[in-house]
Each structure stands twice: as C-alpha cells, then as structure tokens.
Symmetry: C2
Subunit: 256 residues, 2 copies
Amino acid sequence: MGAAPGLLTLTAAPAVGVARWATLAGRWRERIVAGDWPSGAAIPPETELAREAGVALGTARQALSALVSDGLLERVHGRGTFVTRGLAQASMLRFFRFGPADLPDTPGATPVPHSRILARRPVRASTEQARRLGLADGARVLRVRRMRLIDGRPVLLETLWLPLPLFEPLAVLAPTDWDDLLYPMYSRRCRVTIVRAADELSFGALDAAQARALGLEAQAPAVRVEREAFDLAGRCVELRTTLGDARAFRYRAEIR
Amino acid sequence: MGAAPGLLTLTAAPAVGVARWATLAGRWRERIVAGDWPSGAAIPPETELAREAGVALGTARQALSALVSDGLLERVHGRGTFVTRGLAQASMLRFFRFGPADLPDTPGATPVPHSRILARRPVRASTEQARRLGLADGARVLRVRRMRLIDGRPVLLETLWLPLPLFEPLAVLAPTDWDDLLYPMYSRRCRVTIVRAADELSFGALDAAQARALGLEAQAPAVRVEREAFDLAGRCVELRTTLGDARAFRYRAEIR
DNA sequence: AAGTGGTCTAGACCACTCT
DNA sequence: GAGTGGTCTAGACCACTTG
C-alpha cells in the first residue's frame, strides 16, 4: 500500500501526512547528529541541497529554517550555513549580578568567572538522575564539584553529573586543566555539543559548609538552579546544581 | 532620485533597502494598532491581501509570518488569520507553586487565584515610573493594590500603576466588580490589549505588614516580580510589583 | 568576480474547517 | 462544497561576503 508513485523513490520522500520539508529536515538533522556535517563547519549551499534532494529551492529553505529555529544550524548572509558550535554563554551569571551593583544588562561586558575544581570522581547515578539522563539504574557518572570566583571571591557552588562512557576524557583530566567555560570544553574534549538547557530555579538556605565556602553567614538565603543540558540529538547529557547568594539574584523573563 | 520605475506606485512600496514583506508587515501592523482590524477578529484572507497589496502570495505570507511571531496575529489552518486577543495566562503562578506540593508543570490545571482589591486611587507617577511608562514627569496614574488568594488563603500581594487617561474606566469601577484576570478586563473595559510582558525577578524580605497580610512571619524571604506590560503598539501600559513567599518560588527557564 | 543566502513571482495543488 | 491557510514548484533577481 502507498506504493512508489513514479519511477524513482531515490529523491523525494514517500512519507504520508508529513510535509516534504519536514522529512528533509529530519534527514539533515540525522547527518548533523551523526557528525556527518561536523560542528562549526559549513554545510553544502542551498542550491546543491535542493538539487540533491530533488525539491524546489523554497522547500529546501523551509527545511533549513526549521533546523535553524531548533538551534542546530546558523545562517550567515553571503557566507553560508553552519552547524552550531553549541551554547557558549549559558552562564549562570544570567541569574546573578555580582560585583559593584551592576548597571542594566550588559552581557558580554560581564567577565567569565574563574573555575576551581574541588573534586571529581565516578559515582553511581541515583534512580532519579539515571532517569533524567536516560541511563540504566545505577549507571556510572562523573560527579564534579566546583567553585566559581569573580576577582578571587567565591560566588557560586556547583555540582555536576556527567554520563561516564561519554565524558571519560574528563575523568582523567587534572583539576587544574579544566577550563572556565565547560561547554566549549565538552565540545573539544568529548565531542559533545550542548544546544539547549533548561534551568529550574528555586529558593532555599545554605548549610553551614556551603555558607562558609561562599563567605556568607550560616542559613543565608540562596537560589538553587537545577540544570538539564541537551546535546544535538536532544539527549540530556548534563545535570547541574548551582547555589548562589539569593541577594545577588536578578533575572529577566519575557512573556511571549 | 530613485524615482517611480513604472506607471503606478499605488501598490507596492518604494522603500529602499527594506524588503517588501517588511514594508507590508509595517502597514498591516498599523491597521491592527489603529483598531482598523479589531482584536479577536479575522483579517482578510491571504489571497485578498496579496491582491490588494499587488504582491505575490508568498510575499504576503512572509509579512503575515512576521506579525505572527511578534504576537499580533494568530493563524488557524482552515479557519483564517486572527488579531490576537492578547495575553490571558501571564499569571504570576508561573513563578510560584502554592497548594499541596504540586506535580510537575500542569498549566491549565492550576486554578485562577481570586483577586481582592485593597485600594485604588489616582496618584502622581514617580520620575522613574513616568519614564518607564513613557509619560510626562508627574503624570496621573491609577495605583491599585490587590491581594490574590487561593482557596481563601492570601498568597500574593500586588501593586499596579496604570496610565490614567487610558485606564479611566477602572478608576471609577467598584473594587468588588474587578475581575480575577486583569488582562481580559483591560481589553473589555479599556480597549487595551496586552501582547507582551517583561518580568524582572529579585529576592528580598517582607516587612511586618506584608508578612502579616500573607500569613507569614516577619522578615520572611520573598520573591519580588517587577513587571512591565506592553500593548499592541509596543507601548508600556502597566507597571506591577508582586510579592510572594520565596519558599513557594519555582521557575523554569529554557535557554535557546 | 564568484559564491552564498535573501527576496520575489505566478502559478498549482493539498489539508483543514465549517455549513 | 466553499473557503481558508499550508505546501510546493521553477524559475528570476538582489544583497552580502570573500578572494
């Protein structure tokens, strides 16, 4: 049923009820996920893609647009279409304003805080963590604790959980060799591209040790950020919990 | 220079350096803002718009798409294209989870909290407020204080400032006649459509009176939400400050 | 000048909604 | 079945970037 309508089914998709551009987008998404089109590189020009796929230019463009709005591709007028290098500035400083009472949002002006790795070792994922990472119960993950500092002053405490076959290179990396920005480091050392993240914010209080580490009084009010970060394939590949002084918390949310 | 290239300049736009679809989008935006195409109503079909404007169908569709992503229009396959009725669910409950330890996000399931107007009277806008509302210094605004309750329990305290010629109908409305949802009420009583809002979140502590009103201990930790809301024309027409128990605070932010 | 993405045309046909 | 938006075609030309 739904047999080949013509001579060749090599080019366009036979899928029923699915727009041709959606089928194309899916096919090209696979090539990106597989690394066939590597991160940061240009993909073939629109005209060539359209010709290869046997569709009109407009149809190919619609497929590309879908991948752009999914954050997998970036178009640059006159230069080409590129596979995303992933998030660079998903900084937790989106949620906090440290330093001398900042002026209104000036991203880019804010310096990247220094990172100090406190501990990192393989552990068993909890049931909940395994579920969120899409792993088997009790799977091995790398647990990382780090502190983030601005001008030498501790401002954030973080704990991360990273699936372990995937992030093996980091399990053996000396704490002093870790970069301040993790996502570009994931990309370089583990071939993991972070495309999307979801942050869940809540309020709590610091315990004695946490407060001491951040130079605050015990029971100081704190904001907790629980992050899930996703790769090109849409898999959750990082869990992270960040703690910071609630009095430095400031965040702008747009509706619509 | 750059004079009319043909016989008639009645239809397409002569603007240089601006895409034709952008010009059309601007023209149609004006009709929406002016109320020429009223809120909630269907606009003429694409084919008619394209014919009127003297452009190809694809060009008209691109202009409409721009207005859709700006939140001014909504398309419904098979039915038509409609001017937005504005935000209905910009509820502050996006930021708080009250009641019996809610399950993961189930919007729509959360009930609309009841609204009790505590006070409303015309005042002079502060310099800062006037600036943000785009008004002259010391302009008249309606200041409204209200409490929001869930199952009769006070959970949020709000203060609003509304520009006064515009919101005059509310200045004389009996406190008991106010609706629980403000934005549909703005639309009905003042012909103001709220399309977009920006919320600035920060952390603080409740003073004695505020804590008493919310049934919390003095100095209880609080989250403060400072909102600016915008109408179809992109003008800021509402300032609002909301206070709630920080321990009920929970918010999910997506990156990219 | 060559190569890329962006805009635009003038059609055709399909999918959905309502009466 | 009539009317709407959604998809698709096969071209053309424009705007931007780079050698």
